[in-house]
Symmetry: C2
Subunit: 285 residues, 2 copies
């Protein structure tokens, strides 16, 4: 019996976005499916550390042996939804050598001259890595849509191009885990105020966040459409209720665990004659 | 009184390579200057975790505020000297989002068509990051020299070009911490055998390592020259006795601590009117 894996499976079922069924507008940002106890969540999260570390080592080892597989964890969410905090907590047990975090900001002048997926292409994790996208290509159907930065007819084609992109990389060994960290306007307000109450947090505060907050409804519509149109078998979306930071961390860690366990990672066999090499090493001066 | 910082200062003094004085050939791979007790070292290493994490956050925050500074930890050493293990232990407390590890392998066909520093240029950490070089541009005066891959006259110019490169990046905000993990042939033999004794470690074993081991003397000469010629005020070398893994981890963590503390990192001040922003946030719907 594997309780952690059972929990991972249950949380994936509870949070998976199902096109045509899940109503984004109805999702509760304060829900905690699978775990209602904060203390127990903390203990279970700690218990995952060595397990995630071991799975990551096997993923890395597999790539040294020639494997192509890797994981890309995509994190999206409104400002203050906790993308940075999630990365901090979920990767704390991982070897940074095998973790590649990409933070997508407003595209540079050069990036803007290319197709919107051009800069994403280079950021996709290499074999053996756990890649993390802090924001992603979904910004190109979120902020870009809300601010009408591209014509409607171009925007409408992007969802399908995203699906093709994710499918192609899935064929190439990428396991996608896409998480939308879902918070309420109330939670956001509390977090913005907390940043203004602590001088060591001023650097996290961005006055422009308020302008985006004013478009909350537009963002909700944009998220709803992105989830509806870009949830595929090879690249599912999970909507993680994130008003409670402890639940958010617990849930994302379990989603990552589930993805890694499903890969059935194994240490590669020796590609040399072990007995012969042992003789050579022992005989070396 | 800051005991951790005192230790960091003492270990830096003990391990710093001093051109014209330090004799590489005389350095003891089993020495443990500054800490002879394994258990105490483990406790002190644990105590550094939250401190290194806090310093890293301030380094990151400084860059968000426009700062240019970053750290690059260079790790060199013979095969099995523990570069990977050091990265695992020394970065375990750091936020992977602010850590960028580059592992330098044999150059690609494209890289070989450029100057040897071309590929290093792109790998230098961006502002706010703790960058780690797992091997580095020093391979271009180590393995390249031992195997005579470039003509003598080109090789002889590389030391000065490395110094210029490191100096230029230092001017641009890079704090260099260069560590040579120094092991004995005996320790290497034990570690190679350990990899052959455990099927979960076969992937770490590389039969080609034995051929390099056979050139130990040539490598020692190459290391000695590199340390002698490329130790500068802005980019010092530390030779870390690494037969004991616990000492190696303890020492490198303290060297990193010392470097970060010397930077006197501060959270940036608010670049906005705090009281006004609080009013705006409170008034937001």
């Amino acid at each position: 019996m594997d309780q952690a894996l059972d929990r991972a499976s249950a949380v994936a079922d509870a949070l998976r976005f199902v096109p045509g069924e899940t109503k984004f507008a109805n999702l509760d940002t304060r829900a905690t499916p699978g775990q209602s106890d904060k203390g127990q969540a903390a203990t279970q999260l700690l218990d995952l550390d060595s397990r995630l570390e071991g799975l990551q080592e096997r993923l890395w080892a597999e790539s040294v042996g020639g494997g192509e597989r890797r994981v890309v964890l995509v994190l999206q969410g409104m400002d203050t939804s906790g993308k940075d905090g999630t990365i901090r907590q979920v990767t704390r047990s991982l070897n940074p050598q095998g973790v590649a975090v990409y933070s997508f900001k407003a595209p540079t002048a050069e990036e803007r001259r290319h197709d919107f997926l051009w800069r994403i292409e280079n950021a996709v994790a290499k074999p053996g890595y756990v890649g993390i996208f802090n924001r992603s290509h979904y910004e190109d159907v979120l902020i870009v849509r809300v601010h009408k930065m591209v014509p409607e007819e171009e925007l409408s084609t992007r969802y399908e191009r995203i699906n093709e992109f994710e499918h192609r990389h899935s064929d190439d060994g990428v396991v996608w885990v896409k998480c939308m960290l879902h918070i309420s306007p109330k939670a956001q307000k509390e977090r913005l105020l907390a940043r203004l109450d602590d001088p060591t947090k001023y650097w996290k505060y961005n006055a422009a966040d308020l302008a985006e907050r004013a478009r909350w409804g537009d963002y909700s519509t944009a998220y709803s459409d992105a989830l509806e149109k870009c949830t595929t078998d090879v690249a599912p979306w999970y909507v993680v209720p994130s008003d409670s930071k402890w639940y958010r961390n617990w849930a994302v860690a379990h989603l990552l665990l589930g993805a890694l366990e499903t890969m059935a990672l194994q240490y590669p066999p020796a590609d040399f004659n072990v007995a012969e090499q042992r003789r050579l090493v022992e005989a070396a001066p």
